[in-house]
């Protein structure tokens, strides 16, 4: 038998407070325009920063699309975007919190005089929410940085829980991983003559895409004919080729996945935050 509490002239036992696990797992209809994934244009993610394309070209951070060079404009940090999201949707989020507590915690009086009992119920609820969502912090994989764009200290939900965006690009619902020329070449090691590959591996660290193109073209007899176009043309082909330069490094965008899973994970992480905030804010009115 749990603790007995006199509450409004009635007896209240700890056992009377029930956490409804189904309600804990229940999906919330969170405000739809979530940060990052609601932005309808190409975004580049690097060391926790977010960039979009700008017409003001820059030599230090640029993307060349077809025949035009664009600069990369730093957007608001994910943390700032999330703060703005929660602020802009305060009323809606508060309503979700209230409804969630009403459904998830059964038996808790409106004004619980025993704060230790309320705290215990809160902790139990938070624990159950975290268990229901199973979203762990992702381990940050630092890109091969030149240190020109240092990692942004950002404890946003996006940067803490949504992995594989340390160096990535988001375009049209697709995620591309940014690879160095050296990393890109390494996928084709078996199609390249070993001696030439070793030379290329060393040189490629300092190469521009155009230089890599020339080196590969000049030595195409050392590359398997079927592999050659895959190896060369994605790095650079002609003056209309796509190119991205950031943090002193040329990157090759390589398709990783659609953004559906990352977006769903992000929505879940936002939903979890709303629920845990609701639990931590207590049940008293």
């Amino acid at each position: 038998m749990g603790k007995k509490v006199v509450q409004g002239g009635e007896l209240l036992f700890k056992e009377d407070i029930i956490i409804d696990e189904e309600a804990v797992r229940m999906q919330l209809t969170i405000p739809s325009r979530i940060p990052i994934f609601s932005i309808d244009e190409m975004q580049v993610f690097y060391n926790s920063h977010v960039f979009t394309l700008t017409k003001n070209s820059s030599k230090d951070a640029m993307i060349k699309v077809y025949t035009t060079e664009y600069g990369l404009n730093e957007e608001k940090s994910p943390k700032l975007q999330e703060d703005e999201y929660f602020k802009a949707n305060t009323a809606e989020v508060n309503k979700l919190k209230e409804e969630f507590i009403k459904k998830a915690v059964i038996g808790m009086p409106d004004n619980c005089y025993d704060k230790s009992l309320e705290k215990q119920a809160c902790l139990t609820l938070v624990e159950k929410i975290n268990h229901a969502y199973d979203i762990a912090e992702h381990s940050y994989k630092a890109p091969p940085s030149k240190g020109l764009v240092p990692k942004l200290s950002d404890d946003s939900i996006f940067n803490t829980y949504i992995g594989d965006f340390e160096r990535a690009m988001l375009l049209d619902g697709k995620v591309y991983r940014l690879e160095t020329i050296q990393e890109y070449l390494s996928m084709f090691q078996k199609a390249i003559e070993p001696k030439f590959y070793k030379e290329l591996e060393k040189k490629s660290v300092l190469m521009t895409p155009e230089e890599a193109f020339k080196e590969l073209t000049d030595n195409r007899h050392k590359i398997h004919p079927w592999g050659f176009p895959f190896i060369r043309n994605k790095i650079w082909y002609n003056e209309k080729s796509f190119k991205i330069f950031l943090d002193g490094i040329y990157w090759i965008p390589k398709f990783a996945s659609t953004s559906k899973n990352a977006e769903e994970k992000y929505r879940n992480a936002i939903e979890r935050k709303i629920k845990t905030d609701a639990a931590e804010e207590g049940f008293g009115k």
Partner: protein, 251 residues
């Protein structure tokens, strides 16, 4: 200049709103903007047919073949034939000759050869274009890609720098002869048909046929314009274009 920027911006936004025809990224040997362009305008059937075309004509040819094969013909015979022609030439090419970039070899065909092959294929099915039932089928295929995009609708995706350049690519693959009709197009079917019509129009010799194409274009009837353009190349292009291409190689 500003008008041109507006045009490419609008074209880019239009293309951005098209659904993807496929997802070729994992296998793509092309750069990002070319991959995006192909995803929006060329089906996997045409890409997989393995037609070899010289880089300067590559995208033009693929959009043209997409329209001709996917909408007009409803089969990919022209693509397959072009792939066979390339393969035959390839057999006589010296692949060891590293002085020529692989994509500049003669087995990579040109736009006039692609148009000629389309005309020859169409001539083989000549009846198709005078038979109402067949025309109806073509129209249905056209309508399947004719979902109009209203760029002013709040639901539409908006212009962005990346797609401005996809718009520029669209402009660059369109023949100058029909460029000024681009600002009126509002669906994938209209855009592809206009690109097809423009390149076909450039090869039509008969003035009266050219005039029929232009009349349809002025009425914004892109579908009829493309069929008139097709009739034009069917009349004016003979196998001699392909023969000439091959005999130039031998010469």
């Amino acid at each position: 200049m500003k008008d041109k920027q507006n045009l490419t911006g609008n074209l880019g936004a239009l293309v951005k709103n098209f659904s993807n025809l496929h997802s070729i990224e994992p296998d793509s040997m092309l750069d990002l903007n070319t991959t995006t362009f192909l995803q929006k305008l060329v089906s996997k059937d045409v890409i997989d047919a393995g037609v070899r075309v010289k880089p300067k004509d590559y995208l033009k040819s693929l959009v043209l073949l997409e329209y001709f094969s996917g909408i007009i013909e409803g089969d990919y015979m022209a693509c397959k034939n072009l792939a066979k022609i390339s393969e035959k030439i390839r057999k006589i090419e010296d692949e060891e000759d590293t002085s020529v970039d692989p994509h500049e070899r003669d087995s990579y065909l040109t736009l006039p050869v692609v148009i000629a092959e389309a005309a020859l294929c169409a001539n083989e099915k000549e009846d198709t274009y005078s038979d109402n039932a067949s025309l109806k089928k073509i129209k249905v295929r056209y309508q399947n890609h004719d979902m109009k995009i209203d760029l002013h609708s709040p639901k539409s995706k908006k212009p962005e720098p990346y797609y401005d350049m996809i718009g520029q690519m669209v402009l660059d693959v369109t023949s100058k002869s029909v460029e000024h009709y681009l600002e009126k197009v509002s669906s994938r079917a209209e855009l592809s048909s206009l690109i097809f019509t423009g390149h076909a129009l450039d090869m039509i010799k008969s003035d009266s046929q050219k005039s029929k194409v232009k009349t349809a274009l002025e009425k914004k009837d892109y579908f009829s314009a493309s069929l008139e353009a097709l009739k034009g190349i069917m009349k004016d292009i003979t196998i001699s274009v392909i023969d000439e291409y091959i005999s130039n190689l031998e010469g």
